[in-house]
């Protein structure tokens, strides 16, 4: 009996912790899918509405149709009044995220002009409307997305080439001062990257790389090269040296051995290192804020979008776009997670 109680208490605790993590994210997702009108609702929906239920009535005095919506079960809210279906369709698209043809609305609503009754309407919401509108409202979003991808690409290129060489040297050659290199890597990692970004702004202007993605990639590579060196070192150490020696015995050159034996074995390690590079470059807004001017990255654009009033649902859509790749790459890296932690 005691055991059962303890067991169920454990599950209650686990469920509580999981919901503390997931509930805010669920709300964010729902807000990113909600229309302009829904944004004003209280309490906010936990689960997104897939359809919109409305009522329409013919207003004799004003000679127009009135569209109503139930914000809560009791509270009917007049939304819009018009007898022009073109305008009504535009309103539906803009404020309710309903993408429909004026003819459809006319078909549905026009009959009540004569009968004077109230009709219930039900339309499918365009779930991804905010995701489209995000790119329209924040005009630089498309470029920012491309910039983020570029910054990621350059960071991967720099970290893998420079860090991979260090990892190989540490694993395969007898050089002096390996401990010093390890210590230096730790010190570099401890330094706040933003402190380096301040003088870097001036240096990058001098190097002609201010406001470029390559310039950002150089900063992102600072922690990443060390990390890549560390990962590739352990990979190179793990490869059976005899395989390579066998390759030499059969007359392969050093380069050929590297190409056809060593590199295929190292690819998983390099993949892991690139994912780290991806996460660092993709998630950063702080360095980008200091070192770019017009060329924003997506994370920076999301950071700045906070000031735009009445656009939090579009910003939320943008945040979800930012989150998804970061999540995917973090899950792919799950096994290494302890090591980037911090």
């Amino acid at each position: 009996m005691n055991k059962i109680i303890r067991h169920s208490l454990l599950y209650v605790l686990v469920a509580l912790v999981v919901s503390i993590v997931l509930v805010p994210l669920m709300y964010l997702t729902t807000i990113s899918l909600s229309s302009n009108i829904e944004l004003g609702d209280f309490p906010k929906n936990f689960i997104p509405n897939l359809t919109v239920e409305l009522e329409a009535e013919w207003d004799e005095d004003r000679e127009a149709f009135t569209i109503y919506r139930y914000a809560t079960k009791e509270r009917r809210q007049a939304l819009y009044r018009s007898d022009n279906f073109e305008e009504m369709a535009r309103y539906f698209e803009r404020y309710l995220n309903i993408y429909t043809e004026p003819e459809v609305l006319e078909n549905d609503i026009e009959p009540i002009r004569e009968t004077d009754e109230v009709i219930e309407l039900r339309y499918r919401k365009n779930l991804f409307a905010n995701y489209q509108k995000f790119f329209e409202i924040f005009s630089g979003a498309r470029d920012a997305l491309i910039n983020s991808i570029l910054a990621v690409f350059y960071t991967i290129l720099l970290s893998l080439s420079i860090g991979g060489a260090v990892g190989y040297t540490l694993a395969r050659t007898k050089i002096k001062g390996k401990e010093t290199i390890g210590l230096a890597a730790l010190v570099v990692r401890m330094f706040p990257i933003i402190s380096i970004s301040v003088p870097m702004a001036i240096l990058l202007i001098r190097y002609g790389m201010f406001d470029t993605m390559l310039g950002l990639a150089f900063i992102y590579s600072i922690p990443n090269i060390g990390l890549t060196a560390w990962i590739t070192r352990s990979i190179f150490l793990g490869i059976d040296k005899e395989l390579e020696e066998a390759s030499y015995v059969f007359g392969a050159t050093k380069l050929r051995t590297l190409r056809s034996i060593t590199i295929p074995l190292v690819i998983p390690g390099f993949a892991a290192a690139s994912m780290y590079a991806f996460i660092i470059a993709w998630n950063d807004a702080a360095v980008a804020l200091l070192l770019t001017d017009r060329n924003e990255t997506l994370a920076l654009l999301i950071f700045r979008s906070i000031g735009a009033t009445g656009a939090i649902h579009y910003a939320s859509a943008g945040a979800i776009i930012l989150i998804i790749p970061a999540l995917i790459f973090t899950f792919l890296l799950k096994d290494y997670i302890n090591r980037i932690w911090g």
Partner: protein, 309 residues
């Protein structure tokens, strides 16, 4: 002739030596790390035309938000670290059992850590407003009525409308939400490495459960945790982004918030740049000092334990 040959020979040897593979990394860190670090320290101690001065730091100390920024940064780092550490240990000890769905549980726990900070800022911005999801959640679950009858809340709260220490605590809670699951995973991993029999043996010999945790569990999982906590502490001292997304610049100052403020919010003048550099060098100093103290404190304890044995 032979002299020339040896020169060529030694050049060949240098080019072929393994150190050459380290050269790009060396150049990279000289140019993109050491140079800016040295440059910022140099700039913080000089005027625009290069004469040495302490005026930059005097200006910084006299800046109206300096003290607040320093205190907020330290309070944030210490409180968030302590809170996260103890909550994580507690949760990890409670959950340290194999249960159905524990893999799925760990899967969910990784999510907050993966989120970009800018996205976390948006997430909590949608939550802390008057009609935000936090108030909605309270309303729907009936927590609102409970808290109102207890006198804790009075109607729908605008959570961003706090100042001073309470604003710092708000960011501590957000940070804890983001980081706690991963601290817990690290501690769980440490616990799973350690042999359960040890703790049972201690209890057989009459140690209480609390004592077994303190004297056996903690020392064994310590090495992995200390590094993790050090990195957390350093990260904590660099707080600013989420706070700015929620409170804006200036209202709840932090050291790095000041750096960013003088770099990208106000006009780009020499005076503002010197202010940013001074703040950034000062932050560096604070981080190194705190990290040093932390290492001394944690390693000191281990030695004391050994002596005790």
């Amino acid at each position: 002739m032979s002299k020339r040959k040896t020169v060529i020979h030694s050049i060949k040897r240098i080019v072929k030596s393994p150190y050459m593979l380290l050269l790009p990394a060396l150049l990279f860190y000289l140019l993109f790390w050491l140079l800016p670090v040295v440059m910022s320290i140099f700039q913080s101690f000089t005027t625009v035309d290069g004469t040495p001065t302490l005026q930059n730091f005097i200006n910084m100390f006299n800046e109206s938000r300096f003290m607040r920024a320093l205190i907020n940064t330290l309070v944030f780092a210490v409180v968030s670290l302590t809170l996260q550490f103890f909550l994580a240990i507690l949760l990890a000890l409670l959950i340290n059992k194999k249960f159905k769905g524990s893999r799925l549980f760990l899967f969910f726990m990784i999510i907050p850590m993966a989120l970009p900070q800018a996205a976390v800022g948006i997430l909590w911005n949608t939550g802390l407003t008057e009609a935000g999801w936090l108030n909605s959640l309270f309303h729907v679950t009936g927590l609102q009525t409970v808290l109102e009858s207890l006198g804790v809340l009075d109607g729908r709260t605008l959570w961003t409308n706090v100042t001073g220490t309470r604003a710092v605590m708000t960011i501590v809670l957000i940070d804890t939400w983001t980081v706690l699951p991963s601290v817990m995973i690290i501690i769980l991993a440490g616990l799973q490495n350690f042999n359960r029999e040890l703790s049972e043996a201690a209890q057989v010999f009459g140690a209480s459960r609390g004592r077994a945790v303190k004297d056996i569990v903690i020392p064994i999982i310590k090495p992995s945790i200390v590094t993790a906590l050090l990195l957390r502490l350093i990260a904590g001292l660099q707080v600013w982004l989420i706070s700015v997304m929620i409170f804006g610049y200036g209202r709840v100052p932090y050291l790095l918030e000041r750096v960013v403020y003088y770099m990208s919010v106000v006009a780009r003048t020499d005076a503002n740049y010197r202010m940013a550099v001074s703040y950034s060098v000062f932050t560096l100093f604070v981080i190194l000092t705190v990290a040093f103290l932390f290492v001394r404190l944690t390693s000191g304890k281990t030695e004391w334990r050994k002596a005790d044995e």
